[in-house]
Symmetry: D4
Subunit: 165 residues, 8 copies
């Protein structure tokens, strides 16, 4: 089981690495590439078209501003493509979000929150778990762990706010 | 292979039915429900929690305004949840989109375009195709068909604009 | 008289504590919890459903991004729920605001300004004062105090700008 | 138990009447006024200041565009004020929403969705129910009724979509 | 000739002082007040209603968020009111701008740019110059001065970019 | 006393005529022109530069989309310029509003609400009333009339909603 | 001299034809195609890459929603590409505009107004006129004509508003 | 071959210089000016009107807020004008973008991304290359260079993420 992870610029890495860490924690292999829909279009298309062949079963594509990379990937493969909008220096990420999510009829991109690196990784795992039930089990444990962390914070909060009770 | 399709209100049906038609065309079975995160929260939760048991492998959740249904579904199952934002009478769908896509760390919703019924269906098929390769093949044919339609329109356009050549 | 205060993440505390300080100043007891509509949905629901039983008469729910917590709380109790939108790192709080305020017909959330911690507390006191007239009296004094502070600032300003007269 | 209902213009009535119908259904009396923060400021202030005296325990204020009426009401009474943003012919209601919800520190307005007439009425009933438990009971029944309606729609939907199963 | 300058909070002063400096440079007297439409409504109204009597011929009102102060002033006087939207910590000033500029039919507020302190002052001078021609003359000189400054910057730029010619 | 009224396109007339009717009602003469900052820039500039000479004491400039006309007028005269943003077929008037109101330091435009024809006229009258006190008196009467109309609507509303009392 | 005109869907034709009519009026030949960055990516790329060879000197690309076509064209040719954002059924064209204009460093798209078909055509002519001075002359005449039309409207307006003088 | 580069304020220089550096790299001469549509309108018009005479074949105009400079330039010359929106301290550049791109029918401005200095320069080169084929060749090499840089980053990324493979 393998996920293809592409980003439009290496400056997107700090967000993308959160997805990589999730995938690693679930034992999912990745191929990570810097590919630009505009500056290296041929390489981008080649990667998308060969993805399935290469054993890639889900793709994550991160991009900012006029974020065309996820849509361009999605157009060249039938592997599900997760779009990860990156906030750039202007417009607070709204441009990236709309460029990725508002795909026309026929070619969807599964969009997650602006800068939502972890969620891109988690969604990839959930999609893979349709085929690999062990990932579904692992995801349940991951959620239990998340829950425990929130419950601990809940308990701390109850302590911390004792004086207000 | 089965997809659970839920909508927050039966007024969302004209958009949702486009997803159903796609799923039917690909031979994917569906369970369709009207469930409200706010008005029938218990039924909504029960459906989400039992989804996997019931054989549902992907879920589509459509909702408008403060569109909580997709996120609430996603919180109660590890099955991937596709969020379909419905444009309501105010704010042009921006509220629905942001309520669905901006999910916090840990629980992603795979969001498609506002009123993007077809794309919700197509994305569901693509996710299922990770497990069922025959769906991937069918999707390639579907794309070929789409391509043919665009090519025909292209040809018509070339004819139609002859006088401008 | 007691107010239930829940937040989606302990990182919301710096905003929420302003509500707590207001409530403390008015002698209103609170129960403060970290509950996530998405990561600890069962605890969240249990809290909402038991709130009235536990003596809670008004609830404040703070959340950011796809801020579902206030709506989910409101769906499980008839106690009035005040929604407090938290500004997150993208979109300047607009996502939180729309997710909370645009509730569908049937389940309202009484929404205050983005990051409006004090106003969430004050609104809770005003709602309680419908039943407890002494809180209404205290609120009048609080307003008189606020007014005095503005009047003092007014006077300082008159001094400070003497050279422009 | 009485609710004061004010609107900035009689053209807001089609939205406001939805609140009135809710209030009537719950047996809550109302005083309904057309008062403008800008065109009849003195009458508006007089009404707000006398509200409590007149037995009004909650207020609903509807307004569009630069929607100052709810805030101006809230400034002159400690009775909780529900703000109902009205969509006008430009900007899709965003101006009304922001003008009402973004109140500065000290004077909150309990804001509901744009054009959310029913929810303004329901929130008023919920606030009153803090004092009048019978309203809380009635609200539970109202919710049960809403739930039944959704469940019926759910059942119809299951029927209607049989061919997709 | 006198201008009344009011602000909703003394934290608006750094923007407002730019208007004061303009007015001083033109020899226009001012009365500067901190008045809140919400926290000191009576003082605000009293000031607006007495403005004309006090010799005030134009008013500048600065406010942020749900910026009601300019509209409330405008409702209580027929003196022209200039609205100065202040950017607050959320929503980048859009809330302040819409709250001030979208006034309903009958009561206009002459709105300038977000945080546009200087322009509020200049507009006040231009309005006064309808009556006091000497101010119009002075404004022409002020513009000539501005023009000179831009021309100097233009010349510097030509120098600075010599290597690109 | 005379007001110059310019619009960027004769399609703006239905909004602009509301200003004309106000001005006529107050006995203020007008010069009305269709002038485009982009298509007839020389005529636009000539009109602005000659305005004062021609006896124009206030200007109203209406424009939509990239609404440069008010700013361009304001740059060529020291007469106060009122900007009237016209809603066009896209973006709901937000483009017109921002293009007019966000003027840089030095050249203000007194902006009114999107499509706020009446208010542009009323603001012009208020500005003229700084010089012509009789207009201020007339404006007070106009307001009294407006107030009467609201009061009548208020009374009708009280009647109309009797059954809800 | 030839312009390549591509649109993402034949439903964009009513806007695109305005560009064609302009180009025809200036005697510029066109090649018009329906090409989708997502549904017929290979044809789209082939057209872009062969454009220069085929004698195309400027390109116009129209698209809506996640409008990737102009950027994808621009990435595959060094011929200047004019982006024409089409308003779709949601978000009022803002998604199309941002997807087209916010191109990352390296690959610009010369963006015109939402639904600005004529301007796309005019800009193409202006770009060609850098090489073909006769087009620049024709453009000056076109402008003179536009100017005459505005001047006529101006004159009509002066007549039409005589009663307001 | 020469490009005229104008900016509304010398504070725009850090963005504009990126265009200058591109133009220099391609051996294109420039004339750089600080010209304000509002503060030095006559100089701005004179420059636009004389541009063609002076040998300027393309113009770049940078401006922020109510960014009228590009449109005003475009109105006075038939040379193609590239609009470069500058992000100012409020509204994240949305005001600049809309003021520049939403030009009315007849006078287009070729708009690039907010703060997109490089792209303004590159677009100018692309437009000039319609006439000067050597620039088109140089642009192809520039793209090859960009491509190489992305490919190197791609390779580094593959290395950097080895542990995730």
């Amino acid at each position: 089981m393998k996920v293809g992870v592409v980003m439009g610029s290496d400056s997107d890495f700090p967000v993308v690495v959160k997805a990589l860490d999730i995938l690693k924690a679930f034992g999912v292999k990745v191929t990570v590439r810097v590919l630009s829909a505009h500056r290296t279009p041929k390489e981008a298309l080649a990667f998308a078209m060969g993805a399935s062949q290469e054993g890639i079963e889900v793709m994550i594509a991160a991009a900012g501003k006029s974020a065309h990379l996820p849509g361009v990937m999605a157009a060249m493969t039938t592997v599900p493509v997760i779009g990860l909008p990156i906030m750039s220096s202007t417009l607070d990420g709204l441009d990236s979000l709309l460029s990725i999510v508002q795909m026309p009829k026929g070619i969807p991109v599964a969009t997650v929150a602006i800068n939502g690196g972890e969620n891109a990784g988690i969604l990839a795992v959930q999609i893979l778990s349709v085929k690999y039930p062990e990932l579904g089990e692992a995801m349940k444990q991951y959620r239990d762990q998340m829950q425990l962390e929130v419950l601990e914070k809940d308990e701390s909060m109850v302590q911390k706010t004792r004086d207000y009770r």
